[in-house]
Amino acid sequence: MLAQQLLNGILAGSVYALFALGFTLMFGVLGVINLTYGFYFSTGAFVALHATRYLHMQIWEALPFAAAIAGLIAIVIDELLLGPLRRAKAPELSSLMVTLGATLLLYSLMTAWFTTDIRRFPPTVFDGGAFEIQGLRITLSQILIVAAVVSIVGGLAWLLRRTKLGLAIRALAENDDVAQLMGVNVGGVVHLVSFISGALGGAAGVMIGLNYNAIQPYMGESMMLKGFAVIILGGLGDIRGAVLAGLALGILETLTAGYVASSMKDAVGFLLLVLTLWFRPVGLFGRIAAKRA
């Protein structure tokens, strides 16, 4: 029982980690809290749903496809909304307000189009079924999710730590003026970071849609609240913190649902958020956040 709970918790937590990673990357590199981020999560889920249903893609094809579409939309939204503010060196509050307004508009458009009915993946997506290993039940889609999260997080870590592009991204995060002085094309790197963030959010949307098999436009909205809890717990802009805090939230939620009450599950994130802000406002490892403050 406990082992099954932990397994489910790690599964949910790894998706939270993936989602928070994109959010924290956006903040850490571009320096803005972009509230449209949850929308990419919903976008990813809907694109994957339609890709499997109408384009007859397999889920492992639909996942990167949906992530890429979400990433491209993220570039467009960032350029349209935040590009002008960045160039004018506008205060942070303006970007917060602009993305808040845009979020309301984007969700309304999505609802007008798709309604708020809950949609489900076609049953063929789950053909693989499930395994039982020593009483632990794990489905193929769950294996796909964990494998995808591990490879995406590993890939991102490799990009940021081991490549020249990653070096440029980190340079931009620290000091965009000096990054330019060294020859970094900041506009291009900003687009790339928007793409990666949007794709991470979109991929997380596909996975949550798959795991609970329930998709509706506002799913990104409730995920954003968890995303906030995770990046505040992990420290704003902290990659490692986002992964660990995401896993922690997933496990705590599942254990709460299993041993306390399932109605309390969603409160865990907020409890963690409040406790973090009270006792350790820079987050578990908040280094960048502490420096920026």
Binding site: E174, M182, V184
Partner: protein
Amino acid sequence: MSAPLLAVRGLTLAYDRTDAVKGIDFDVHKGGVVTLIGANGAGKTTTLRAVSGLLKPRAGSIRFAGREIAGMAAHRIARLGVVQSPEGRQVFANMTIAENLAMGAYLESDRVAVAKRRDTVLARFPRLGERLSQSAGLLSGGEQQMLAMGRALMADPKLLLLDEPSMGLAPLFVEEIFNIVADLKREGRTILLVEQNARAALEIADYAYVIESGRITLRGPAREIAENSEVATAYLGM
């Protein structure tokens, strides 16, 4: 005399809507060290920001190697070989020393060339070589200045812009930094040096411009400027 490597004409720069630099002219010739001296807030750093492309001029022209670069994007100016070691050092504090140096060679894709430059830089700044995997943020001010200069040298610049390299450093480090600038000059680097430490700057430079409230008030060979009585009272504390 051959055409200057850098030729600035009528450069006017606005900062927060007021003109910080009001139509200045200056030249830097290949292989020479030119210094721009003046008090805090005279417009020296603003001028360097414009040359590097971080600030769009309101008017005037900046020609580098015969090409107009005023208003060009900063990363494209860096690509042409104009590289700056900025005021206040501004090393990437969360990166290691090795990563900071790698950032300096960002535009060079030839690994062999990068490794060669790194050897040269580390020979010049041996302190950096001992601590390659350490965070740059942990270095002392003087060491950070060496790292900032090393980072700029990793780009093998055609024109090196040094903004206040001695600012806020202990006297021992100030001497060391100026010795390094002198070495770079001997090796034939072209340098535009902005300094508040006028005495040290004038000792090294070939040519000097004195900038006051956004205007160039005096220009000439560095030795003559150093002997000018007004400069002596205003900047050399004599």
